[in-house]
């Protein structure tokens, strides 16, 4: 788990690392610890999987990926692990989650996010997920975003 210093590092970096020559030194100053400790702790958080990655976070929408589709699939609870493994392994799926269904209106339990520059490309990606799932999917929907109302990094 993470302690209060780790939390302070998360808080200091959630808007991104500063674009200065020595960004970890700047973070260290904000948190009040040594720069080496900032780097060592971030390394440890990476190894523990708490930080998934450190890097550039591109704004897909600004780069032309206008079709942001939330694909949702009705998968039996007994099949969810297998379905998640199959869909989570597709390189064009940016996020793949199991979420609770809310019957009767919302039977969908597997969520997979896709991004495309054209509507036809997005439709083709949905087809590929459907093909991979085969009979594991009992129904699906794609909800495209018509407007991004707010998007920021993690907030503590």
């Amino acid at each position: 788990m993470i302690d209060s210093i780790d939390r302070a590092i998360v808080k200091a970096t959630q808007d991104g690392l500063p674009l200065v020559e020595r960004p970890y030194h700047a973070v260290a100053e904000m948190v009040g610890i040594a720069p080496d400790e900032v780097m060592a702790r971030m390394e440890r958080l990476l190894e523990a999987g708490i930080i998934r990655r450190i890097g550039l976070v591109p704004n897909h929408y600004a780069l032309g990926y206008r079709f942001n589709g939330m694909t949702v699939w009705d998968v039996a609870d007994s099949d969810i692990a297998e379905a998640g493994r199959l869909v989570g392994g597709l390189d064009f799926v940016s996020h793949c989650y199991h979420r609770p269904r809310h019957l009767p209106d919302w039977p969908y339990s597997l969520f997979a996010m896709i991004h495309a520059r054209e509507r036809a490309d997005a439709d083709a990606l949905v087809e590929r997920i459907a093909a991979v799932l085969g009979p594991l999917s009992r129904g699906n929907l794609v909800l495209f975003s018509s407007r991004i109302l707010k998007k920021t990094g993690l907030r503590l």
Binding site: I51, P100, L143, R147, K150, G153
Partner: protein, 149 residues
């Protein structure tokens, strides 16, 4: 945006160096100076192509979060969308094409605090909020190949 910008954007979505001068390390791989890397990144941020340079955290490791959805009557959408976006705990808020037309992510220091935000939004909007917390994630997020064409 030139070829070097594209490399910057695509090639460093992970394994950003944990060294005292990380931008100099990127510059070494791309054949440019530390100052040029910083300048290009600042420009890409200003024009909106880069959201940020930094860590992507696994969900649920710091506090709690959930995905929530609401079916908002079209006439009420602007008011409710603005209400939802006004919460500091809401970091993503999307309008989507479905009867459930407002989808947002709530992140807070604890699961209880997440529940309190949902209850507050529901009361103030006068609408039911569907709570769809993550039960399991199946994808290791390693970034996304931008496939420049």
């Amino acid at each position: 945006m030139d070829k070097l910008d594209r490399h910057l954007l695509n090639d460093f979505q992970r394994d950003f160096p944990l060294v005292p001068h990380p931008y100099a390390a990127l510059g070494e791989q791309l054949g440019m100076s530390e100052a040029e890397v910083i300048g290009r990144l600042a420009h890409l941020s200003d024009q909106g192509s880069v959201s940020r340079v930094g860590a992507v955290f696994r969900p649920h490791t710091v506090g709690g979060s959930t995905l929530a959805a609401m079916a908002v009557p079209p006439a009420d959408l602007e008011r409710v969308a603005a209400l939802v976006s006004s919460y500091a705990e809401v970091n993503h808020n999307y309008q989507r094409e479905h009867r459930l037309n407002l989808w947002f992510v709530v992140t807070a220091p604890s699961p209880e605090a997440v529940g309190a935000v949902l209850a507050d939004i529901s009361a103030r909007a006068g609408l039911e909020v569907l709570d769809l917390p993550l039960l399991e994630h199946f994808h290791i997020d390693l970034g996304f190949d931008l496939k420049w064409s």
